[in-house]
Symmetry: C2
Subunit: 351 residues, 2 copies
């Protein structure tokens, strides 16, 4: 069940079989047909290991993410895979779980499998591992961290703009006491969002009480606990911004359990816009990260970043992705004040 058996059955050389497989134009239609028939009857399956070994190319794109359990990532993975497949590439997924050891292990896997490019969608990666890829001339695209360089492309989500939209929305609704539940602050990605909040908060001259910022873990339980701490505060904020949707969902649980209403008593806004956020009660107002764009741009960067002639990495591109504000129903006017606030339709079905 290798190329040789096919060649024998079709009465051609292995080279012709190989050419047929790879759609070479210089193989006569009828021999090609004969070869294909032989493959069919033999149930021939190409050995990609041998192919990669011989050609040096694996047709594999690596995708490193930090937490497959956070719905944002599966959505990203799916978009990435869809586009990759449409370009004739396959995807090798690796999950770091925010663990440095495991991250290193993921990088090794990518190297071992000779990927044609890697998208690193976790900011928890030491810059020096890039060199591993660069030395081997493997194109890299990063999300959310660092500067572009030859062979390295960067995708930056405009967090400040996203946070600003949310803050503007809240201040226009009369909120002045706005809390923030961050992600784990030892993570760069979380820190970036946190800083964006702090800057926006300063710009709007809001009360910058230290207790108004509580640390979560980007998971519901962290948001839940952080919200409990916020609710226990002497002077409770009237609105809460969270570092991601999962955090917001956890926080909503704590709010309801305290017998408060959303958004009448307290407003809440998430970040990411995972599919489920349209189906919480009330539907979650959030800031969407357009994950399809992220995926598209990542693959574009990976496939376009290597000069097809010299195999030298070209100058890496830099992409900026604009978040989109998604007003739903978890954020409303500040309590106790009259505001003209158009209550929106549910929007559950219309992303």
């Amino acid at each position: 069940m290798n190329i040789k058996a096919v060649a024998k059955l079709a009465n051609v050389s292995t080279a012709t079989v190989s050419r047929t497989i790879n759609g070479s134009p210089k193989v006569s239609p009828d021999t090609a047909a004969r070869v294909r028939k032989a493959m069919e009857t033999l149930n021939f399956v190409l050995n990609t290991n041998a192919r990669a070994l011989g050609s040096g190319r694996s047709n594999l794109l690596g995708l490193i993410i930090s937490d497959i359990t956070n719905p944002f990532f599966p959505e990203l993975v799916k978009a990435f895979e869809d586009i990759a497949v449409s370009q004739g590439k396959e995807v090798l997924i690796a999950n770091t779980d925010y663990d440095p050891d495991r991250t290193m292990h993921c990088v090794t896997r990518m190297l071992q499998r000779k990927v044609d490019g890697v998208a690193i969608m976790t900011s928890e990666i030491s810059e020096h591992v890039i060199s591993f890829f660069l030395k081997r001339k493997i194109p890299v695209v990063f999300l959310d961290t660092g500067e572009p360089a030859p062979g390295i492309s960067r995708i930056n989500i405009d967090y400040p703009a996203g946070v600003e939209m949310a803050m503007q929305y809240l201040t226009q609704l009369g909120h002045k006491d706005i809390s923030f539940i961050s992600g784990p602050l030892n993570l760069n990605s979380a820190k970036t969002r946190y800083q964006a909040f702090m800057e926006s908060s300063a710009r709007e001259h809001l009360s910058a009480k230290a207790e108004y910022v509580q640390e979560g873990n980007h998971r519901p339980d962290g948001g839940y606990r952080a919200m409990q701490r916020i609710l226990a505060l002497e002077q409770r904020p009237t609105a809460v911004l969270t570092s991601n949707d999962l955090t917001a969902i956890g926080a909503m649980g704590a709010i309801f359990e305290a017998g408060l209403r959303i958004p009448q008593d307290i407003s809440i806004i998430g970040f990411d816009d995972i599919q489920l956020s349209a189906f919480t009660e009330p539907p979650l107002t959030t800031v969407r990260i357009p994950h399809k764009d992220v995926a598209r741009v990542a693959i574009e960067a990976l496939l376009g970043t290597q000069d097809p002639i010299s195999k030298e990495p070209k100058d890496g591109a830099q992409y900026k992705i604009q978040p989109i504000f998604m007003p739903r129903r978890s954020a409303g006017p500040v309590p106790g004040e009259a505001h003209s606030f158009k209550r929106r339709r549910a929007d559950r079905l219309h992303a």
Copy 2:
């Protein structure tokens, strides 16, 4: 940066390097040390393609799932990966999206990469593709479908038992009019759950109105729409069972939008117990599928199913997984009747 360079630097043959890499006992400690040092200085990375080609083994376990966007699967993937890695295996993930063509493509990928075993966690796969794996003596484990056979293991979730627990719970709370929102009924997995409901419903002598069963799509939007249809019914049910948690979450949105309360006006129960279901409002009563057990058992089946001596597949094992009922707060006594119902604590933090 191949084994040859390492051999040269360490003044040994490539065979010795290979033996060192693979921890062969018959290589003297000091030569091993010399080799390791050489690997270090050269930043040597093993080429797994070459290894797979030479040895015939890939160290790769395939995992085919149907919808990575459904949180149940990432949780399963993660558990599967964790165990696989702890056994020195890697995981190749493939997502079918319920698409037959794509499914076939996934199978081909597995074959091409010469996986050492495949876990097929989607029931949407024609039984004849098994032969592809069996012919090549690749162990297979299926979830939720078919009979065990040589080289094929099966994991069956006891859906009837799971549904029965939910139904018992509801009937004991006085419910007699219980609705069911199914998954897409062209899918085997959805059909199984649907049938379990129908049987349980008959057993409990419940009103088996045809309109009480509505078809969803295993996603929130499907649950939302199905619930709207149910709410429009002349005689509304007092409780709704759903085919999975995502469906339940969508249904809850529709209930709230109709101005009804959960569980005072209507009770709802999910299936799967995804992480988020503890953080909905109210927390979702559901039937847990213990995904860690599923993952553990799957890998056990894959790794134990091939006779290590003869390489002949052993008789496949059959495993039955018992679901676990997770009472939270979305199901309560039937409206308008006095019942002794202990309202549970939230349980958000304690799975």
